[in-house]
């Protein structure tokens, strides 16, 4: 791997190596662009991943100090952990479950479709599904999504059997093992799924797509990638003309380093990306970089989420096999007759014993809880994930009272549920319970949202600069050579797991950036 000079200002610096940053880096390298990829975390591998929930969490999770506020339950139960995302090469693609669904066409037109929703900051995306379709197809091929490109669906596990039995009895029509970025056959030099059941802990077989062992090695093979793990970017610098000129980062020894850049792309996930723009405030940009609209950090979305677990008279052993290869799609489309706008998906989910005790109902204790755990082997579970409303007041800000290991203010994540989110969640709980009751459940449980694994919207795309932070290519309105390259770009959240769309946008953004560089526009 080459080591580009710190003073080489012809490179593109990409911050973060996950679904956005890892994909963008590779796509640029394939086009001959030199990339310095700065990742705060260390480099693991399938060999070092651990089939142990707590140990893996310590290995992969972003655990730098964060604070929370707002009426969301996460602020009460997990006040220091607003999100379960990763600090590691590959980012959250090491931890994700692999669910890969495209947005519905109207989900790019949320404001037009849903109308004015009081207390929500809805906005149409500056692009359409039609424009993204070729890139979605390329992403699905790249990631090996089942039920696309001739790739067979995964076989359903016991947890899926229970979901399927209940779903069909209830009258749902679209229930199958999903569109998953997990090899059902050997493909692209990686083996097929061994049904390990530790998808969340890093895939030890490599069957699940992660930039760690796909995009990054491919980029390295071009000779154009300089990947620097344990390099935590703390500031983006700019010149008097307002163009970014490079970044400052702390290396593995904690020493300050300065890498010059022709273009900077920020893909630190939706809490660190806006935080970095705010930390980079200067006399020219007193409100932070690319923040003339005031929207940097705002419109934080985490999807309406919740889980339903159910105890049956007989054994399920739901932890055996894929964590999430099972879906009911029927509630996905918009149908305001249900009492809310937007839709939600119902996806199988399993937690191991150690995490079940921590998350089933945080804080609960006593005989009823003990009974539930006694029946762990007879449990099935699903995750409900749907479109939550963007709100200007749901936002990431700098908490000047609390400093991180480098002396910088930590991010605070403020979130209040919108009435639409609450109505959707209650509907989803009820339907999830109905599915399991139809399958013969003796008891069902409503589990509140976990620390957010989907984090979106904090540097959103907009047509008008006053409404957002970046344009349809993720290029910030204010600074031509500064890009947003992760889920922070999402104007609205849609009902679907975001990774496929993040990868899709990164493929398209790489094309745009390399074109602009060729034209010397940036």
């Amino acid at each position: 791997m080459p080591s580009f000079d710190m003073n080489d200002n012809s490179v593109v610096v990409v911050i973060g190596s996950g679904a956005g940053g890892g994909t963008l880096a590779n796509e640029l390298c394939q086009k001959g662009v030199k990339v310095v990829l700065l990742e705060a975390g260390a480099r693991q591998s399938s060999a070092t991943f651990i089939n142990d929930e707590w140990a893996s969490f310590s290995q992969l999770a972003w655990l730098d100090t964060r604070t929370t506020s707002g009426n969301w339950r996460v602020a009460k139960d997990f006040s220091g952990l607003p999100a379960w995302i990763c600090k590691t090469v590959g980012g959250t693609t090491t931890h994700w479950a692999g669910a890969s669904l495209r947005f519905h066409p109207y989900e790019f037109k949320a404001r037009t479709t849903y109308g004015e929703i009081k207390g929500a900051n809805l906005l149409d995306w500056p692009l359409t599904l039609k424009e993204l379709e070729p890139y979605y197809a390329r992403a699905e091929d790249k990631m090996g999504v089942t039920r696309t490109h001739g790739i067979p669906g995964l076989p359903g596990n016991n947890n899926f059997k229970v979901m399927y039995a209940g779903a069909t009895k209830l009258g749902y029509k679209e229930c199958h093992t999903g569109r998953m970025a997990i090899n059902s056959r050997p493909r692209a030099g990686r083996g097929s799924c061994l049904q390990l059941g530790f998808c969340f802990q890093g895939c030890k077989s490599g069957a699940k797509w992660s930039t760690l062992y796909t995009e990054i090695p491919k980029a390295e093979a071009t000779g154009k990638l300089d990947l620097r793990p344990q390099s935590h970017v703390v500031k983006i610098e700019h010149n008097d003309a307002g163009k970014v000129t490079g970044v400052v980062y702390r290396d593995s020894k904690g020493a300050e380093q300065r890498q010059k850049a022709r273009v900077v792309c920020v893909a630190g996930n939706s809490i660190e990306t806006p935080r970095l723009l705010l930390l980079s405030a200067s006399s020219k940009y007193p409100d932070g970089l690319a923040n003339s609209s005031g929207q940097v950090g705002r419109n934080y979305m985490r999807h309406m989420t919740g889980s339903v677990y159910a105890v049956f008279k007989q054994e399920v052993h739901m932890y055996r096999g894929t964590t999430m290869a099972g879906i009911i799609l029927d509630e996905g489309p918009n149908n305001p007759k249900r009492g809310f706008v937007g839709g939600y998906e119902m996806e199988t989910l399993s937690l191991g014993l150690p995490f079940m005790v921590a998350f089933l109902n945080p804080g609960e204790w006593g005989a009823d809880f003990g009974w539930a755990i006694d029946n762990y082997a007879n449990m099935a579970g699903m995750w409900l994930v749907g479109e939550d409303m963007p709100r200007e007041t749901n936002r990431v800000t700098l908490n000047t009272s609390v400093k991180d290991q480098w002396g910088n203010p930590v991010p605070n994540v403020h979130f209040d549920d919108h009435d639409n989110d609450i109505a959707m969640r209650n509907h989803a709980y009820k339907q999830g319970e109905a599915v399991y009751q139809a399958a013969g459940a003796v008891k069902t449980y409503r589990t509140p949202p976990y620390p957010s694994t989907h984090n979106l919207g904090t540097c959103r795309m907009s047509t008008k600069p006053g409404d957002g932070v970046c344009n349809k290519y993720g290029q910030t309105h204010d600074i031509k050579n500064l890009f947003i390259s992760d889920g922070s770009q999402f104007t609205t959240g849609g009902a679907e797991n975001p990774t496929l769309t993040i990868v899709t946008l990164a493929i398209r953004q790489a094309e745009y950036i390399s074109g602009q560089m060729s034209k010397r526009a940036i």
Binding site: N51, D52, E53, W54, P152, G153, L154, P155, G156, N157, N158, F160, K161, V162, Y164, A165, C175, H176, T177, S184, R185, S192, C193, L194, Q195, L196, G197, F198, K204, S205, Q314, E315, V316, H317, Y319, R320, G321, G352, L353, P354, V357, A358, W365, G366, A367, F369, G370, W371, I373, D374, Y376, A377, A439
Partner: protein
């Protein structure tokens, strides 16, 4: 084993006389055993653990807390997280882990000691020997206190993040080294019909 401490430094500029420093370690047997206890028990013959363990008797050593204090914590654990299946041997791990925390922090030791004393007082003498109903009443009254939070928080990992708990509740733990579940029953339940191939295609291997 008592570690050997302190001989005269080699440096010639040192002004120390070369005598052995008196150390703060509990060097006498009496000091070493003060405040320590041993929790013991037997695995129920019906427990899945009884079929797996080499011996049915178990013992857990405490380095700081007394046996009575360990017993109180075990009983509090069972009040917080009751189970028809989980053996005392696992609740003893809760006492062991809290004992380890107490050894590292005088503040934690004080919180635990004062909390246990409060449990006993509220139970009218001995929390460990009180009825289950009384134990529940006493623990409920302490909900939200730092002592309660410390013990309850510890239960999450001490009681459930260990091999005995896994075996007890039918969770099979690490899978990769056993080749995953693809050949070990990932879709083996028979009390529900197999979904059609369109919903659940056959395994590729």
């Amino acid at each position: 084993m008592i570690p050997i401490i302190g001989t005269a430094p080699e440096s010639g500029t040192c002004s120390e006389p070369g005598a052995v420093r008196k150390s703060d370690l509990p060097l006498t047997r009496r000091e070493f055993l003060r405040g320590s206890g041993v929790l013991t028990g037997t695995l129920a013959a019906s427990s899945v653990l009884a079929t797996l363990a080499p011996s049915h008797t178990w013992a857990v050593e405490l380095g700081t807390l007394s046996q009575a204090e360990g017993d109180a914590l075990m009983k509090m654990g069972r009040t917080l997280y009751p189970s028809a299946k989980l053996q005392d041997a696992v609740y003893a791990l809760l006492a062991k882990d809290l004992d380890a925390d107490a050894a590292k922090s005088p503040d934690t030791l004080k919180t635990l000691r004062d909390g246990i004393a409060e449990l006993d007082k509220s139970a009218g003498g001995s929390f460990a020997n009180a009825s289950a109903a009384k134990q529940l009443e006493v623990v409920k009254a302490m909900d939200g206190t730092p002592f309660f939070n410390a013990v309850r928080g510890k239960c999450i990992t001490s009681l459930y993040n260990n091999e005995m708990a896994f075996a007890t509740f039918g969770y099979e733990g690490a899978a990769y080294d056993k080749g995953g579940y693809i050949m070990r029953g990932f879709q083996d339940i028979k009390w529900l019909p197999d979904p059609p191939k369109s919903a659940s295609p056959p395994t590729g291997r």
